[in-house]
Symmetry: C2
Subunit: 217 residues, 2 copies
């Protein structure tokens, strides 16, 4: 199916025209963003949010690192999560403070984070996560050794209950404010990568790879 | 006190040397980042994470917008939240995939989000949030009218249980990997603002303000 079926939790209620449910748009946002923000409950049922890297393969999102280890501390068989990803595209300066806004593309996922236990899938998940963060890197770097695989927690979340929310364009002011002597418009915002900095412990005469020199999201 | 007292929840356990508790560092991260990620439980106790703008005044963080309205739907007298803010500074390319990382500065806040009801504080909170997003803007734009104030939900969270986590510098590879023929280093990442785009409905001959032309975080 080309779109995610909206559920009570994923139906965008505030500014519903900004809600987007088609897979292509959702996947494009997930693939462009760098990190996600994983919400879950601790053992006492209190909310916790942790930023972490991730990667997507088809309808499955993979997480690892500190989020995984903290979540796995308490639960081994799956834990309810809300995963949020946001890209900021601009600051929207309206004539009134009330209509100030941001241009953004965000995705919210409700699901269950489950540990990846099968060795081959775990290896593939680490490839997916590495390639998400630095496309092209997996082919160059040393792949995980068996003991490193053991020391890495990887979780997956199936993408089923998902929606995106997008704002684009200029400010929307009230008619009676249109003649105020105030500049209005958008300040575009984006992530850029600067010239790569070689590790000062680099012993080999390795060239800076293209994917580092031309890194972009 | 110059530092936040670590609690069981804010003590950085994974990579504890990256934990930072001094107010100056925490406040600098909060003041530089654009948005925060607010985690709370819905009426069924399930985790929800919402991105939103915010602003800080002293030891108090103010939130408004969709997070506030969604949270206020269910609870009027305060709701436990976890607020996370993250700035990505670089992609860390190690010789082994296992040691790949990011340079980042993040803050996690545990607290209670409480509606701001006093009119003067609410007005000031809106100023703080606007000035956080676009410093200098409040003096130019039309300030909130009484009916706009009514239509805006604002919450505050007192900064008491707070910690930061910071990673800087190059990759840390294992000794036995140091001679691998692989480039290693950091790709620096930052947010930039491009040339402001005037609203095409701009009727007045207003100059682009300096804070828009030279917008930066």
């Amino acid at each position: 199916m080309a779109t995610f079926a909206p559920t009570p939790r994923t139906t965008v209620r505030r500014k519903p025209t900004r809600g987007v449910y088609d897979r292509e748009t959702v996947f494009a946002i997930l693939d462009e963003a760098l990190i996600c923000h994983v919400g879950f409950n601790d053992a006492e049922g209190r909310p916790v949010v942790i930023p972490t890297g991730y990667g997507r393969k088809g309808e499955r999102l993979y997480l690892h690192g500190s989020a995984a280890s903290r979540m796995l501390r308490s639960v081994a068989e799956g834990i309810p999560v809300c995963i949020e990803v946001t890209i900021i595209d601009g600051m929207v300066l309206a004539r009134s403070t009330f209509h100030h806004s941001m241009n953004y593309r965000s995705v919210v996922i409700f699901g269950t984070a489950v540990p990846v236990t099968e060795e081959a899938e775990k290896f593939e998940a680490l490839r997916i996560i590495t390639e998400h963060l630095v496309p092209g890197r997996w082919a160059d770097a040393r792949v995980p050794a068996p003991q490193e695989m053991k020391g890495t927690a990887v979780l997956y979340v199936d993408l089923e209950e998902v929606s995106a929310k997008i704002r684009t364009g200029g400010p929307i002011d009230d008619d009676e404010d249109m003649d105020l002597p105030v500049w209005a418009g958008v300040v575009p915002i984006r992530l850029v990568a600067d010239t790569p900095i070689a590790d000062d412990k680099l012993r080999v005469a390795a060239q800076v790879p293209d994917y580092a020199t031309h890194y972009k999201r």
